[in-house]
Symmetry: C3
Subunit: 327 residues, 3 copies
Amino acid sequence: MDWSLSIDKAIPKPLRVILRGVGQVFFCCNAVTGLIFLIALYVGGVTAGLAATVGVISSTVAAYLLGFSEDDIDAGLYGFNGTLVGPCLFLFLENTPILWLYVVLASILSSVVLAALIRILQPYKIPASTSPFVLTCWMFMVAVYSFDVFSRGPVLPAPGIPADIAAASVVTTEFATLTQDAAVTWYTAVTKGIGEVMFADSVIVGILFLVGIAITSLRGALMALFGAIVGVAVPVLLGADKTLIEMGLYAFNPVLTMMAVGWVFLKPSNGTAILALLAGILTVICQAGLANFLAPIGLPTLTFPFVLVMWMFLFAASKSKYWDNTN
Amino acid sequence: MDWSLSIDKAIPKPLRVILRGVGQVFFCCNAVTGLIFLIALYVGGVTAGLAATVGVISSTVAAYLLGFSEDDIDAGLYGFNGTLVGPCLFLFLENTPILWLYVVLASILSSVVLAALIRILQPYKIPASTSPFVLTCWMFMVAVYSFDVFSRGPVLPAPGIPADIAAASVVTTEFATLTQDAAVTWYTAVTKGIGEVMFADSVIVGILFLVGIAITSLRGALMALFGAIVGVAVPVLLGADKTLIEMGLYAFNPVLTMMAVGWVFLKPSNGTAILALLAGILTVICQAGLANFLAPIGLPTLTFPFVLVMWMFLFAASKSKYWDNTN
Amino acid sequence: MDWSLSIDKAIPKPLRVILRGVGQVFFCCNAVTGLIFLIALYVGGVTAGLAATVGVISSTVAAYLLGFSEDDIDAGLYGFNGTLVGPCLFLFLENTPILWLYVVLASILSSVVLAALIRILQPYKIPASTSPFVLTCWMFMVAVYSFDVFSRGPVLPAPGIPADIAAASVVTTEFATLTQDAAVTWYTAVTKGIGEVMFADSVIVGILFLVGIAITSLRGALMALFGAIVGVAVPVLLGADKTLIEMGLYAFNPVLTMMAVGWVFLKPSNGTAILALLAGILTVICQAGLANFLAPIGLPTLTFPFVLVMWMFLFAASKSKYWDNTN
């Protein structure tokens, strides 16, 4: 919205670039939105907030020092991968003082990987999105098996053959009844789904994120909300693990996919809204597939299901006479 | 052959596009060939035939609705991935009513992935071939561990560490003797090898496929036959598992590789025939390698060994002064 | 150095091309350097030397016969992947007469894969480097589970879930003391680190390699030495497995990364030297990550950590206003 963009422009440049970097996690080049996201992160947990702050600063400063495009840096594009790297490593690895150094190193690498992917995808005019964050964090997380100074935290899934996962799944009946309990369960799962984009298992953080997005774009917020609903409804219909659905862990990828396809990268229309819905449904299947694919090495999918489905739809968009690529 | 192309042109357009889609599984843009393939599929099993029909229609209609290139659709290029998705999911997953919906969804996705890969490979003028089918089916098959409404069928290999596979292999002496039994074993393995391209463990289906290809091109049929022979002889020489060789499971990939390299994508000559032979031999090794690579997550290679080796040879072809890329 | 290039030009062409192929393993287009490398390989072990000789000849001759660029062949670019394929397969697979045939086939494939990757990377002006060797050897090594005529040698890691690796790590105190023992340990680990680029677990081979590089370029040799030091110091600081560090198995990748980033592919300067240091540190983490990623199928990383980090830095270089790509 206009008032927020006026404030955005009034903020001193270094702070604005950092806050925009946080905002870009949900595709919002808007320092006000970024500030709300950052406050939400600290509300979710001081460590997560600090880690995101260290990450966004490290990756942005690294991009400056390495001489990458100043326009891209100003838009916050070298910030959002670092924003995600910080809380990710602090959630999945054991919290030790040396982990801060690891976060700084990973954030710097995420900027190098982003520049590399921008170059690779340049002929196709396709965004790298959060793929640098995912690739960097996967590498830094799977490496710690070999290093004594780091340990895997309890949240990181134990490596194992995917067949064992099937046994763990629980029937998801409480989503299907028309009681007040069902309404609460849905409300929790949907809002947490938005919060989990930045690893926050929290209703209030999810709502703050949604408010932040709405300040930049109502269509964006609507797409995020629909994405979260798809990310609860589809796994419920397919009989996925109840605990994962309730924590919003099937929802944060469709949230990003529907925002990308239905708002950011294709021309907004009813057609692209339907397309976004299709992409959202496929993201749920892609997430289950990737999770099982990564099971033997014990890594989480992070936002890679979103990246894969978004890439497929954006590459395909350029071969379609109906979809307008706005970039 | 000319008479078959005349019939092809006389068939009403929607039916022709669908039948060409089936024909393109073996690179044949010819509705008569496609019809023979489809009949062969129903001969192999009514479910497989129906699944292929649903698949080819879903992926072709999806391509129309999504606005992809009409020339490509008319040539059946948006049909063959769906043709393969249908029987694949019905072979490897448990047959339930909701599986039909899953096949439709996967076939639609295969068209999106094909459009995306056409765009990615466009600067190189390299075909996507069956890679959309493989990527889509892998994702849909490995996802079912997480969903209660789907189950893995008995044919899908149990996930496990690849070392355990070595113990299961059996000496392959009966291929090496000069008895009538050996002749029958070879005949069975070679014909089934052609049938297994569309998941048919059947001699008669393999022969029908070969007849269908011969109607479009004799060189094509010859390459398919040589590919199947390579796909039996090489694993026998290397001492691979007898049961897999007899079912033609080492042969269907070299069949496609030799057709692609020796007939479709490079200018037919004695030189490219030798190149096709080399590519066929390497496909056998690639198949064994990829099968073991996928063992921990319990997925079959499908036609990806063919795709990988074909891509390597076609990319390399453009750097050679001898190989003429006909596209 | 000039005198060595004069000798290089005086050597008859076929021999020069082969020797340059060996030299290109360390980016040295210089037959004198290649000769020293080859002698070093035979010093390390006659089988390794012979396998490298067979490999370099097979891949170079294959490139001639397949009609690839004569300029590239003359520069030895179609030789170094074969040079690595030979000793690699003889180290990791059981030594049998038929393995020689396997080496020839793999070396031929490495030339096809190199031509393909040159084509793929052509729009970006990025080198394929040793990736054809890695991809080919991975495929040929993981395939042998399925073939009775080949067996895995004792050096190849047993496949397993990566969590089991963590238990095996040993505290690395002897690197941290200021005794004479510590100096010997460092000296051994650093020199072996350079030798392990061509699979030689030997101090003298490492020193000979370093001498060979110095004949072509002092900066190159300096980068190789610093890379080996980084590849010992960083894993020691992170608490990695002592045995692996002492054998130089964390060092051979940073050796190549620092040579590539700090000498060969970016304009030599103090800035790129610092960049090379950063790339070297990240290569250590990448190597640990990739090793654990490959654990379930029991494959070694080979030089892929170097390839990945080098690619990231070279792709990123073209987006930076500071880094000059010399190619």
